[in-house]
Assembly symmetry: D2
Homo-oligomer: 375 residues x 4
């Protein structure tokens, strides 16, 4: 009998596909706001979901207050059929089967924000140009939606990072917190947040460099001296981390990316660690100033001396429905969103060679071997 | 019942540990060659394995021919107890329980070369400075080896890439090859090779740029115009790929790294794709010249128009025994091998602030607000 | 007669040397503050300049108030011989022949701040480790200072950037300003500042990306979308610009470096333009938010829509005295301050080759040509 | 009297303009070869120069042999009026007043190759897309050429590097060489070559890393361990050096760029040194293998142990006529040739903000402050 560790299981990304265990009945529609061009498609879509698919359609309550939307005749006809919720007040857990996003990458970040535990499958349409997270074109939405609702779709499970802040001042209340935890292990910690792109630790408005200590699985790894540090998901590797110099990671790779922002050290390259590690970030004890933390560009807050931020991969990914498949969708978004390897053929060297080869065989040799002169 | 895809399994790297299903009896010792300083430790080690651990010790037959070694008295005493094999002639599959490497990263690449299918656990000692692949110090080798032989060790499974060359001219022989395959599915393909670091496709001695087409899972992705392309394992991300600008990936991340070498396009960043994809690389049809391929720096050969190289993750990793654990070993090798984020504290801004704050509170304010002059 | 443009004048950096047209009599000593370790060297130095060289020694008035310094017996003896000035109040123009800096790069930035027109030659000592701007060791300061005062020294003329803010609201006052200018062309503009390292335009505390327009010699060049933009001198290319990814430029090269900070575009490389151009920077008209500007890390202020910042190379460099010469000093500072190309020899490939070459000539060939196997 | 070094001369690039000291009479026309699309424009141009401008037109003798060209009726009519020369045999020095290039950057590299001392002003037309060195469009060539011949044009003086090989074996012949030099100081050295883009030192076909020593003004600076080293002009900073990671330098900056190719050291950034220094490059004494040198992609030759390559800025630049001006032409070529900072506006963060701000003022606050949950 041989050591079983010797053979690896390698998952084929093409094997991840959408499966409906029961037909989806409720759909949440998230639209981009403050953008008049999204209103007509939104009304079309909602109307179609109600009439053709007989689905229960949820929207954020604020949508019903939109002045421009309320002037739309077709919208008026369906307004009362919509179910609303108020963000930050109503719990959507287990009430939504399916999410449709309309407009831009921000709609997906918002969906991630709304569902801090399990997330229903998300189908995201772009209206103008392709986004990193919005692969579907809207023009033949009926056909594409029908196909997805019938279960014909590849899926990319986008991992998220679970971030928990530990405040130094919390320690005295530890006993109390433990007590509170007794009445239900399943209750989420009050100070955690899930991010789809990244958590950023930076120097904020301070003119001094950040001094941030990084720990992995409890061990001190290094200190970051510079503008800050980005801890991102593979999804986030094409966002702020790309601007800070990171390589781009396909969202299906189970990993966490750590990218310094303008590090003082020339050799501080970005690193990619396994999804299963726990990162701890804190202000270096000898640092003159504090740092600032933000989550997917939001909830900015100060990280004081003695505080720490712990980051792990959440077990709750965002299941994103692919327009084509995991690989094609990703490279399409790289080309469109980042102009990745868009280029023009280099002809310079070829031309020079052509030039000198113009005469005859021996001309070429002459040039290759000739002595060139200069005083 | 909810969609099971909504929850991810996240593997903790600390969970991978060495397990002996039966006590290891045979050990292969690989030593660095052409380096006299390795001879004494080698003799000590082999002697100890024979005498103290009663193991069967294998060495490459060429070792017995080493002139300097044969002058060593202690070696003469044990010479006849060694089992030898001839590289390229004798099959080691299933005959070795355990490998000990002595000397440098090259010894591990060589071990990988010897075992093109399942690889026994490898324990690698460095003699001078720490290598990327040789985490153990030799000074107290007895203690460390005993501990490992008792099964106390963390393990890093370093994935390898399986590279298969498809020659255009092979096509006419396809029928024949299929026939040959009939007498045994288990027989390895005659034209595949496993690499631990990377396969490199470059322009070789040609003065023209390479034009290489890259396909993933059968789909055309992009063309590389530049000096070439590196397809590497996470282990290889700290080797040539790092020199070409890649981020560094921990060896436990199931991924393949694709890094262009001096690409003509400024936006051609390295990318990281899931371990489960198949890459195909070929010379672009309109390319003026061919390319050259090498495997872990060896077996250099020309890639002609119409040929293709296929790369997938092998199911046979190299199981490397950790000196400490997966995380600590990796960061130690980054610091030592690449001076990763070795730096000096920046004091410039602080000092300026100190300077101007030297007098009194109002001096500071004056400077902050003062008008500065220049003609 | 041929076109005279056909031959270029190329300046040898070694030709720039210190020349005293008259013996230096007055010396300004700038010391690092809030650092007790600098006090003893400072007193030694000042005492020596007074006693041995009979120079008039200037210090900032705040220095006389330093509590620790006033406890120093030797300092008490010379305290009354020092000439003082108050930063921001007293004009030092034409009153100082020579500057000695003691402590760190910040002391030189401060010297640059004090002299917004012509700057006397600066000799800068580091106390701990070598700085980018402080090449001299203190231990044999008497010898080195004597040599410099005798005129034996190479000089690096570090160019500075003249930055002028044009506020949209200033336009209504233009007539008035012109009138004021009539009574003396030589009078410095009230809103200009010279920087030795860089001027930084960033998004400040805003969570949105900066949108900054860049003009050269009045022509629109590009827009920066990202964290910001650094306009630096060659001296500044080893400071913040290096952290943002710039190449390092020797301080004698007459150029201005433009480096984006975390640009959203992967192809936005840093650029180097001739010292003689004028840059204009303004907030893009369609930008949602404003930007913030800081000068050598100081004087942080908001750049509003309609405002513009104009940057040109000042005719007043900072003449820095070299410890050895322009070239040696610069590379010493790169190695020490940035660990530039500090590395460890790569032996991996060599070793592998050694390994396989261990047996005999034909062993090598066998491996080179052998078929490697994998299922 | 003050130290004159305190004020710098700063040259305005706009001040460099074309000046004809006598009207240009002879013109050399260089066309791209092996490209049929260039033939018609070439005949038009040459005919016009002969008929309308009464100039003496030179072409390379090989041009007259071109089969396709000789089938052109209009060409047959002017064929006998052309003056020809044979590259490598006939000396063009002082015989040409003006050069017109037609076709691609290679034509300019070829012009540089032909004139190893003083170069006449060059006007370069691109036929397809804009090149780095070919700013003029061909469609209204008559108008543009007339304007240039009348002296209305800005000029970019592109510096070149003078490269001299010193062979170890040459040393024994030193006495002889000195003697030979006596009969004429003005005679060019037999082993020098001028490059417009770059000289590259690389490992050639060797699988081992290059080990190259770099000296500046006779002082050892550093060793390069990697694929090689590029020493380039500012013109060359947008060619191979850009692919290797260099910042882009405007051709008017008097500087030499040194860029490592895939260096083993993470901290080995490209550097920019003053045009007046001398670089010496040699194979490191302990290096296992030799290196290879090529000049503007040509004349590839081996650099052996003990040999050295010396590089200085030549006093003979290539005077290139601008289509618009120095600044506009350069940025146009960056955008077109390298897609420099071609990008798409980032809307992600804005959208998220819009989304959450959709309801009312208090909705925004709620989200900013809300507790987010995760188990």
């Amino acid at each position: 009998m041989k050591n079983s560790a010797m053979v690896m299981q390698i998952q084929d990304p093409a094997s991840q596909r959408l499966t409906w265990y029961k037909p989806p009945l409720t759909v949440l529609v998230i639209k981009k706001v403050s953008d008049a061009s999204v209103l007509a498609p939104f009304v079309y879509l909602v109307d179609w979901l109600l009439q053709e698919k007989n689905m229960v359609v949820w929207v954020e309550s604020a949508v019903l207050e939109d002045v421009q939307l309320n002037e739309n005749v077709r919208f008026k006809a369906i307004r009362d059929k919509l179910v609303t919720f108020k963000d930050g007040r109503d719990d959507l857990t287990d009430r939504i089967d399916f999410i449709v996003c309309l407009g831009g990458d921000g709609t997906l970040l918002y969906a991630s924000l709304l569902f801090q535990q399990s997330v229903p499958p998300v189908m995201a349409f772009h209206l103008g140009s392709l986004g990193f997270l919005t692969p579907f074109r809207f023009d033949n939405f009926e056909e594409q939606l029908t196909s997805v609702l019938e279960g014909h779709a590849a899926l990319t499970l986008r991992s998220r990072l679970r971030c928990v802040m530990h405040r130094r001042s919390d320690r005295k209340h530890e006993a109390k917190t433990l007590e509170a935890d007794l009445d239900g292990e399943a209750r989420p910690a009050a100070n955690s947040i899930l991010v789809l792109n990244e958590v950023v630790i930076d120097r904020g408005p301070s003119p001094y460099l950040s001094n941030i200590d990084l720990f992995l699985d409890g061990k001190y790894i290094t200190s970051v001296q510079g503008d800050g540090l980005i801890v991102s998901t593979p999804t986030g590797s094409t966002a702020y981390a790309a601007a800070a110099g990171a390589s781009m990671i396909h969202p299906s790779v189970p990993a966490i990316m750590v990218t310094p922002i303008c590090p003082h050290s020339l050799s501080f390259r970005p690193i990619v660690v396994p999804a299963g590690v726990e990162l701890k970030i804190s202000v270096s004890p000898e640092s003159r100033n504090t740092s600032w933390v933000s989550f997917d560009g939001r909830n900015r807050q100060e990280l004081f001396h003695g505080d720490s931020l712990r980051v792990t991969t959440s077990i709750y990914p965002v299941p994103c429905i692919c327009a084509q498949d995991q690989i094609s969708d990703w490279f399409a978004s790289l080309a469109d969103g980042l102009h990745w390897n868009v280029r023009k053929r280099q002809k310079c060297l070829d031309e020079l060679s052509d030039l000198t080869a113009s005469g005859s065989e021996d001309t070429l040799d002459e040039i290759e071997n000739m002595k060139l002169y200069d005083v």
